[in-house]
């Protein structure tokens, strides 16, 4: 592993094009993350097509740079306009925006950047240490265990999704059902194609992700009465006083540890991590009343947890082929386009690629720090970009991005369809990410359930193998608990 990482380091460090891609990815990722209404998943989805013409290594350098930077960029809009750019920045705004209103926006941005870097590095350490261990353990898994882990991933997603678990579960089932459209890979039999050639290859993950995360957000932004912004106009000085900043590092460390471990749970996502980190620091604080009024602790804790989740989310992606969050779901789509299916065999068969991921992520974290320190004032201006150009430009990028996957306008129609689906789901409060998770996990689930049956010819095989049984029990508990809570909560008052 060390040899592969060293080789990857030399490969990237001596390749000016790779370094350039990393820097461009960081600049664009931060800028897009900072724009109101453009989430980090949307940034990754619409920028993905730029990587199609690149080698796999260059594509990973670029995409991981966008991934890391856009997560940080989400805090810029949270601090300056009170709109979180990412779900993970939802807590940052609670103290970041009040800090900005007090004339300390520059300091809040620096706190967010430093905490993001600390979190990012700790998440990276977790990835480097634990990914090989998980992959080694996963090599012992057979198809029943894979099927169980896929169910676990979906259950965790439903559990962790904002709002109703039941609605998230329905959204996941829609994704799993849509994943069956097209030719069955085992028997070559067409399903739900309605005689059209375009559906034979199935519904592409990328057009679907661009539609659900990109077009749906554009449609929401076009609604009448879209939120009027009240941006912070005075940035103030960037460097916070040393006396105030120095005591905050244990807080950042705690947030990073929470973020990294929660991020590593398949589908758990950053929203849970930042909420836990914020709540913990508020409880530990001697002055909990300061939280929510614009205190640096309220920025450092969630931001460190948010970015630590990047490394954590890559662990299930690389080792099990299961997305850690919606962004890694998009990354899996990118890898599939480059002919690589992540999973436990990655460490045995594609160790060079794993090395590239390690090094590219480390470069991205450092580059985000450097670019952020140099360009925070500039990124602060981006939140005022003209909405008209932004929305029409992003829509065109969505069109081109979907077309570029297979040079097919049928994919643009698919993208539009998913955009409408995502928009309608948003309107009724149904989470959209489970649809994409379902599309990613559907083929894995089907393949492993059917393979289990072909090999063992026994439906109870999923319950008689200890790992599979344990994982399924956790999945059932994770689903049952919030469903019961939902049912109790939804009882209407007379």
């Amino acid at each position: 592993m060390l040899d592969a990482a060293l080789a990857a380091f030399l490969q990237i460090a001596t390749d000016p094009f790779a370094i350039g891609l990393c820097l461009i990815g960081v600049v664009i990722g931060t800028a897009l993350g900072a724009l109101p209404g453009i989430s980090s998943t949307m940034s990754l989805a619409v920028l993905l097509p730029f990587s199609f013409g690149m080698s796999l290594e260059h594509a990973m350098v670029f995409l991981l740079a966008v991934f890391t930077a856009s997560v940080y960029g989400g805090s810029v809009s949270a601090i300056l306009i009170n709109i979180p750019g990412t779900p993970g920045a939802i807590v940052t705004q609670m103290d970041g925006y009040p800090m900005g209103r007090k004339g300390r926006a520059g300091e809040a941005l620096t706190y967010a950047l430093l905490a993001s870097t600390l979190g990012g590095l700790l998440g990276w350490c977790l990835l480097v240490v634990f990914a090989p261990l998980v992959a080694r353990a996963a090599l012992a898994f057979q198809s029943p265990e894979y099927a169980a882990i896929t169910v676990f991933g979906l259950a965790m997603l439903a559990y962790a999704s904002p709002g109703s678990t039941f609605l998230a579960l329905i959204a996941g089932m829609i994704g799993l059902l849509l994943a069956t459209v097209g030719l069955d890979t085992t028997t070559d039999v067409a399903r739900f194609t309605f005689g059209t050639d375009g559906l034979q290859a199935g519904l592409g993950i990328i057009p679907a992700a661009v539609g659900i995360f990109g077009v749906a957000e554009v449609l929401k932004g076009l609604e009448r009465g879209a939120q009027k912004l009240q941006p912070v106009t005075r940035i103030g000085r960037l460097l916070p006083p040393w006396r105030e900043a120095a005591p905050l590092w244990p807080l950042g460390l705690r947030g990073s540890i929470i973020g990294a471990f929660v991020g590593a749970i398949p589908a758990a996502g950053s929203a849970i991590a930042v909420t836990v980190a914020y709540a913990l620091e508020k409880r530990l604080s001697k002055t909990p009343d300061k939280f929510g009024t614009g205190c640096p602790e309220g920025v450092v804790a969630p931001e460190s947890a948010n970015n630590a989740g990047v490394g954590g989310a890559l662990i299930p992606m690389i080792t099990l082929g299961i997305p850690g969050d919606s962004m890694t779901a998009v990354l899996i789509g990118a890898l599939l386009i480059h002919g690589l299916r992540p999973g436990p065999t990655m460490f045995a068969q594609h160790i060079d690629f794993v090395g590239i991921v390690y090094v590219a992520l480390a470069f991205a974290i450092v580059a985000t720090l450097v670019v952020g320190m140099l360009g925070n004032r500039l990124f602060a201006r981006i939140v005022n970009a003209p909405r008209a150009v932004l929305l029409s430009g992003v829509t065109l990028l969505c069109v081109v991005g979907s077309f570029a996957v297979r040079n097919s306008f049928f994919d643009v129609i698919v993208m539009t369809g998913f955009g409408v689906l995502g928009y309608l789901m948003n309107r009724i409060g149904m989470p959209t990410a489970p649809v994409i998770f379902g599309l990613v996990l559907g083929p894995i689930l089907e393949e492993n359930v059917r393979r289990s049956m072909i090999i063992y010819n026994d439906w109870t095989v999923f319950l008689t193998r200890p790992i599979s049984l344990t994982v399924l029990i956790i999945a059932v508990v994770a689903l049952a608990y919030p469903l019961i809570q939902d049912a109790v909560r939804q009882r209407p008052s007379p």
Partner: protein, 162 residues
């Protein structure tokens, strides 16, 4: 508050009914295909996952429709469309123009279609946002530049046959 709760319950009930209708349509499509439905030995076959998902989704959606309808009936309050139709007019127009865009590309080419699309939408959004003549002109100019930039990057640099 009550009105919102009742409206939301009704929306969810309608969603449940739509999903159930979709499930029934897909079920019929699947069941009418003898190749998909045949026996495949020890392999549960290509119909297995669709059948499981259609069953689970159908039952869940039915549950959603029934419980939401009951919730809507139990709660009081007026349910109206409000400014619902007006609010979704622009998103609806965007979807329509996206489909027109796809139809237009084979006739006048990608670049021309993209320029018309971005210029038109930039002007429309800027006008709706209350911009004056100068603001609209700037938005149109910005939109055209962005469209040309995207075309150049993808067509020339990445080699996408637009």
């Amino acid at each position: 508050m009550k009105e919102t709760l009742r409206s939301r319950s009704l929306s969810l009930a309608i969603t449940g009914v739509i999903i159930v209708a979709g499930v029934m349509f897909l079920w019929r499509n699947l069941a009418s295909d003898p190749i998909v439905m045949q026996q495949w030995g020890r392999d549960p076959g290509p119909a297995f996952q669709p059948i499981v998902m259609l069953t689970l989704l159908g039952l869940s959606a039915l549950g959603l429709a029934v419980t939401s309808a009951i919730n809507a009936l139990r709660t009081r309050g007026v349910v109206g469309l409000g400014n619902g139709i007006a609010a979704v007019a622009m998103p609806g127009a965007m979807v329509a123009t996206l489909l027109i865009f796809v139809a237009l590309v084979p006739r006048i080419g990608f670049l021309a279609s993209a320029l018309i699309f971005t210029a038109g939408w930039s002007a429309l959004i800027a006008r709706r946002d209350g911009e004056g003549g100068r603001g609209i002109a700037l938005a149109v100019g910005g939109g055209v530049l962005v469209a040309y930039g995207i075309f150049t990057v993808f067509s020339t640099m990445i080699g996408v046959p637009l």
